[in-house]
């Protein structure tokens, strides 16, 4: 599936959009980390929570549960929250 990568994480991926697979957001982020080591911990903390100023959208809808199942044709956007500044 298509995964939109925010500018702050493109130093890992080298691209604004990558293709990746996973049955859930957790798995998808894990797959990204396998290809781009270190990217997961920058957006998900050691307790498996999405960091405070990071957001995930699936098909345009914000998702808070990283266990949410994904389908192969879903579009995932990882973005930096507009948290001020």
């Amino acid at each position: 599936m298509k995964v939109l990568i925010p500018s702050a994480l493109q130093s890992y991926t080298g691209a604004a959009q990558v293709e990746a697979a996973g049955d859930s957001l957790f798995e998808l982020i894990g797959a990204l980390d396998a290809r781009f080591p270190g990217i997961r911990f920058r957006m998900v903390d050691e307790q498996d929570r999405l960091r405070r100023h990071m957001r995930c959208f699936v098909n345009g809808a914000q998702v808070h549960d990283l266990g949410r199942p994904l389908a192969a044709d879903d579009e995932v956007a990882i973005i930096q929250a507009l948290s001020g500044g």
Binding site: A8, F41, M43, V44, E46, Q47, R51, S83
Partner: protein, 375 residues
């Protein structure tokens, strides 16, 4: 010719300055990590090539960047400091940022220590590539539960700082916590004990409880590792081990200046000499240069007396804040001093504080200044 490095960590990136021993002309290299919050940038004195930078951004989680060629290239730690995943149903801790980095003992190449916020201690044995929590501290029943969360204490969270390694004994460690106290281990971090006797606390609190103490910075004298100086929320102190009593040497400071501040710096060869950079500690704790007149103060007699050093610094209307990591000394003779301000000014003295000049203005808020011997 001997070369001196100056490692400057800021709210928006890092800079590396180099000079010869005269320390009159500096060459800047930076920014590194523009836009990243760099809390500490430290050179490994054991190889004089390896740099570690404690980094995060406003959005991204904390990490450690490593360079083995003095900043020409960088890679990221494979496993940055992080707490273990908590058991199901239990609240787990998360590292907000790594605040302090200390290279380990000369006999232990590759060993580093890191202090974080929330307050916790981490150790690396591979030059900062992977990090593990020091369980003797982080999971110690006497400590866990009293170490605070990310929003307790200091405005940016409580800090574990001033990680000190006794140059005579790799297993003899000290650390400071902004909330709180100074603590000592004699077995490489497996066990810890508070070292707070004689330290004062804010009125209304119990000085017998370590969690109420707020050391801002602790420094160990390289020429006499039994002597430590401390700049505390409640004054300037000295201790001479094996005594366990801190003595408030800041009482000899001028009353109108007071003895509150963040950093304290010691002389590399003279254990009677130390410098502070006082901050206003009245009412709401402004933490700016008292009266808007920045100055270092030096003691040459282990704290019995203090002399003001402000030649070359702005004489008035300069409301500086100097954070605990933002003052450093080098090992040249005479000793060089370096001060970074939260308003982005970088000041140097090549004569032990007698004369100051500005090296850089308009940097981002300076969090930390470290020196490095590059020869």
């Amino acid at each position: 010719m001997r070369e001196v490095g100056l490692l400057v960590a800021t709210r928006k990136g890092a800079w590396i300055y180099r000079s010869d021993a005269a320390r009159q002309e500096w060459h800047a290299d930076g920014p590194h990590f523009l836009g990243h919050i760099i809390h500490h940038l430290v050179l490994d004195p054991r190889d004089r090539r390896t740099l570690l930078a404690a980094a995060k951004t406003g959005h991204l989680g904390p990490t450690i960047f490593r360079s083995t060629d003095f900043g020409k290239s960088w890679s990221e730690a494979l496993r940055p400091p992080a707490f273990p995943k908590a058991a199901e149903g239990q609240a787990g801790r998360t590292v907000d940022h790594t605040f302090w980095l200390t290279p380990g003992h000369s006999s232990e190449p590759g060993v580093w220590y890191a202090g974080t916020s929330p307050q916790a201690l981490f150790r690396s044995e591979d030059g900062g590539a992977t990090w593990e929590g020091v369980t003797g501290f982080n999971d110690n029943p006497a400590y866990v539960g009293k170490l605070g969360g990310t929003q307790d204490g200091t405005p940016d969270g409580p800090k574990l700082h001033s990680l000190l390694v006794d140059p005579r004994d790799a297993g003899h460690l000290y650390l400071g916590m902004s909330g709180g106290g100074v603590h000592e281990s004699t077995d490489g971090g497996e066990n810890w004990a508070p070292l707070i006797d004689g330290m004062e606390v804010v009125a209304g609190f119990d000085a017998g409880q370590w969690a109420f103490h707020d050391p801002h910075c602790v420094a160990l004298c390289p020429s006499n590792p039994d002597r430590l100086y401390q700049q505390n929320h409640c004054g300037i102190y000295r201790i001479d081990r094996p005594s366990d009593q801190w003595r408030r040497i800041g009482r000899a400071m001028p009353a109108e200046v007071g003895d509150i501040g963040f950093p304290i710096v010691v002389h590399p060869r003279d254990d009677r000499t130390a410098w502070v950079f006082p901050m206003d500690g009245t009412d709401v704790w402004p933490r700016t240069s008292p009266g808007g007149k920045p100055a270092a103060y030096v003691t040459r007699d282990a704290g019995d007396s203090w002399q003001r050093q402000d030649t070359g610094l702005p004489p008035q209307d300069a409301w500086w804040t100097v954070y605990r990591q933002a003052m450093a000394s080098d090992t040249c003779d005479p000793v060089g001093l370096y001060v970074g301000t939260s308003s982005g000014g970088l000041w140097t003295s090549a004569d032990e504080g007698e004369h100051w000049s500005v090296l850089a203005e308009h940097l981002p808020p300076i969090y930390a200044v470290e020196t490095a011997n590059l020869d």
